[in-house]
């Protein structure tokens, strides 16, 4: 695509709106917020590779993969919403935002399904019992893996719930006001949504693909 053609619709003024810069700074802090947990995970993943691998095999690989696809698609629809709002198309914007919300909700639904299986199998930290050990490795370290799993996916889910809330809010505003006035909001929300997606992009191999 030629740069000039792109410019008409998406003014490449190198000065973004101030809110966009603010959102980027916020995302940088979020990277370090999750990053601290990732750092911790990395240490144990390295130390207890065997136990982590056998614990990871207890996760639902299928559901995890499907969920990744769902979330990636939601990012796509979010990007569409930004494109639509720039084209000043209110209907397309709302449709794309609604799709994003639905996909986000599907993700949470699938996640909930996984959780419910894992609760039933007594894998959650406070329900873990003596029969925890499976495969090779140490039961304690397999529990550690599951604790990380719940902490990381839980925290991610909280972020996603917030994201869904914000997207719903923005959709309502888009209904009420004209597209030009919500452009920055949609853009900022999009950044946040994509960031939450990126977190999952890393969580997926870190949790579901250990030792596979």
């Amino acid at each position: 695509m030629s740069a000039t053609a792109f410019q008409e619709s998406q003014p490449v003024s190198r000065e973004e709106p101030i809110g966009t810069i603010g959102m980027w700074v916020f995302i940088a802090t979020e990277v370090l917020f999750f990053g601290a947990l990732f750092t911790a995970y990395g240490i144990y993943r390295h130390a207890y590779a065997e136990s982590f691998a056998s614990a990871s095999h207890r996760l639902d690989f299928m559901l995890g993969t499907i969920n990744t696809a769902v979330l990636l698609t939601s990012s796509f629809t979010m990007a569409l919403a930004v494109l639509a709002v720039k084209a000043r198309s209110r209907r397309a914007t709302i449709a794309a935002l609604a799709a994003t919300v639905v996909l986000g909700a599907i993700f949470l639904g699938i996640k909930g399904l996984e959780y419910s299986h894992e609760f039933a199998e007594h894998l959650a930290p406070w329900r873990a019992d003596a029969s925890f050990a499976f495969g090779t490795g140490s039961a304690a370290h397999q529990r550690l893996f599951f604790n990380f799993y719940f902490a990381m996916t839980g925290l991610h889910a909280v972020h996603l719930v917030v994201g869904i809330g914000v997207v719903v809010g923005v959709s309502v505003m888009t209904l009420r006001r004209n597209a030009a006035r919500v452009e920055r909001l949609v853009e900022g929300t999009g950044l946040y949504w994509h960031f939450v997606d990126i977190v999952w992009v890393f969580l997926y191999p870190m949790l579901y693909l250990v030792g596979r």
Partner: protein
């Protein structure tokens, strides 16, 4: 650029609501100032009781349990509820928009949210106090904090967690403001060094605080649900906690000094009537400290069982980060050379700052020297080191800045005499309190000791005597500043004849800061030393 009498920000409304729902950065600065002063005295009161306890070797005044809670609450309150937000959220909030010629911060309502988060965190800390405090030390080391302490760890940790987000939002606001809201002509190298210091501080606030937040969250989860990340019996590594904690807390000590450096860099040129020496080096040094400061955290862990190689790397990097601080000390000193110096109260604080910071920093070098740290780690030597920098340095700078900009903030003048007296009393009280602690430390008195062997008594008595003098030095300003607020003469626009945009608008400034949008044509600090 002169100012016509527009209503000042203080006159812009008198109901309570115009304060607690304001989005004016100048009023929010006051919200922070008042709440933080309260916490300073709460933390100070804890210190007073501790120093009283330590007058005698036996632990006779308070129980060991109480003593442990005292120094923990002292540390937690002084660090997170006083010193971290001290200059950035008060002077920074008030001055950054004025200094760069903006109407307000980039996100005024976010700024108010910062204060509410601070207040929210404060509620948790007050609850912690009411339920009997917390006894882990301000460092919350696992596994003591997670598995063994039976004090209110979760409450305290939540308070710090919440106040952390206040820090993050302040930092975010400052970064965006400084990038985007500078007045025409205000290029990066025309920024006052105070603005540079707030910028460097904000980088740390934004990049380090989230790691603390996660770490504390893990502590809370561990206590509530038993997640095992720091629990050795589940394969957790207690040293991991220390890494995560110090990844925040070492940069955080620079949060607690950079703004002070900024303040001093404003005061010194003004009262020496001389351009700051080496402006660019000064600006780069601030950034260098902020960035390299992230690479040295392991110097708190030299005897923790950390790998020897990591110890070597962290020691070397700690020396590296001291270089820009050295540059700053030399440049301030040189700024005095051939100046025309008047010893107003702010200047006394600023000169005190240089001396005490140099001493505190140099003892920091002792601590970074591996084999010496093995001996003095967790002794009073460390306590003396950081009080020299944090109290002798930052608190001095904070008081200096408060006096320097007081006429601008309130539109009133204060009693110069009393202010000079307070500065001098503080200086001597401070040294008497903390210098003996260096000696105690090398003698081997461990910190966080409620009772101690008798041979340490003499030095402890000296230290406690100094603390009472220090208390006087800190209580005095309460009185004469209150008096100034109520009955002080009204201050001129530019009482110190200083450069800088903030001195060109009225005292106190109008709501919009400037009646005509300022345009900048000069670098900062255009002073001439002739009388």
């Amino acid at each position: 650029m002169s100012t016509i009498a527009a209503p000042s920000y203080l006159q812009a409304g008198h109901t309570l609501r115009t304060w607690y729902a304001t989005s004016d950065h100048k009023r929010i600065a006051w919200l922070f100032l008042i709440s933080m002063t309260a916490f300073f005295f709460v933390g100070g009161a804890a210190a007073v009781v501790m120093r009283m306890e330590l007058v005698t070797p036996a632990g006779d005044l308070v129980s060991d349990e109480t003593y442990n809670r005292l120094f923990t609450m002292h540390g937690v309150i002084m660090v997170w509820f006083f010193l971290v937000p001290s200059i950035p959220a008060t002077l920074g909030n008030f001055l950054v928009p004025l200094m760069i010629g903006a109407k307000d911060l980039a996100f005024p309502r976010l700024n108010l949210l910062s204060w509410y988060l601070y207040a929210g965190g404060a509620v948790f800390v007050i609850l912690t106090l009411l339920f009997g405090g917390v006894d882990t030390g301000w460092t919350f080391y696992a596994p003591y904090s997670t598995l063994f302490s039976n004090s209110n760890v979760v409450l305290a940790v939540t308070g710090v967690f919440v106040v952390g987000f206040s820090s993050i939002l302040t930092g975010l606001n400052m970064i965006v403001t400084i990038h985007r809201l500078r007045a025409p002509g205000m290029t990066w190298f025309r920024l006052p060094l105070f603005v540079w210091s707030i910028y460097a501080t904000s980088l740390i606030l934004v990049l380090a605080t989230p790691v603390l937040a996660m770490t504390l969250l893990l502590i809370a989860i561990e206590r509530i649900g038993g997640i095992g990340i720091f629990d050795p019996s589940m394969g957790g590594d207690p040293l991991l906690f220390q890494h995560l904690f110090w990844f925040y807390s070492h940069p955080a000590v620079y949060i607690m000094i950079l703004p002070g450096m900024g303040v001093v860099s404003e005061i010194i040129p003004c009262f020496a009537r001389q351009e700051i020496f080496g402006y660019r080096f000064m600006a780069y040094a601030l950034l260098a400290i902020a960035v390299i400061g992230f690479l040295v955290w392991g110097h708190h862990m030299f005897v923790s069982g950390q790998s020897m190689y990591a110890g070597l790397v962290f020691s070397l990097l700690s020396f590296l980060v001291a270089v820009p601080s050295a540059i700053k000390v030399f440049n301030w000193t040189t700024t005095l050379y051939k100046g025309c110096i008047s010893f107003t109260a702010p200047m006394l604080y600023a000169i005190g700052f240089i001396g005490l910071f140099a001493l505190g920093g140099t003892t920091g070098l002792f601590l970074a020297t591996l084999a010496v740290d093995v001996h003095v780690h967790d002794t009073y030597f460390v306590v003396a080191h950081f009080h020299y920098i944090m109290v002798g340095g930052m608190v001095m700078a904070y008081f200096g800045g408060l006096h320097f900009w007081w006429p601008k903030m309130t539109g009133r003048t204060y009693s110069e005499r009393w202010a000079q007296a307070a500065a001098i009393i503080t200086f001597f009280g401070f040294n008497l309190t903390f210098f003996p602690q260096f000696l105690l430390g090398y003698l081997g008195m461990p910190r966080r000791y409620h009772a101690y062997p008798e041979e340490f008594e003499f030095l402890n008595v000296l230290s406690s005597a100094g603390a009472s003098l220090l208390a006087v030095g800190y209580l005095l300003p309460l009185f004469y500043l209150a008096r100034s607020m109520l009955r002080g003469e009204s201050a001129p626009v530019n009482p110190w004849d200083a450069t800088g945009l903030e001195w060109q608008t009225s005292s106190p400034p109008p709501v919009e800061n400037f009646t005509t949008p300022p345009v900048v044509t000069q670098p900062p600090y255009q002073y001439t030393p002739v009388e």
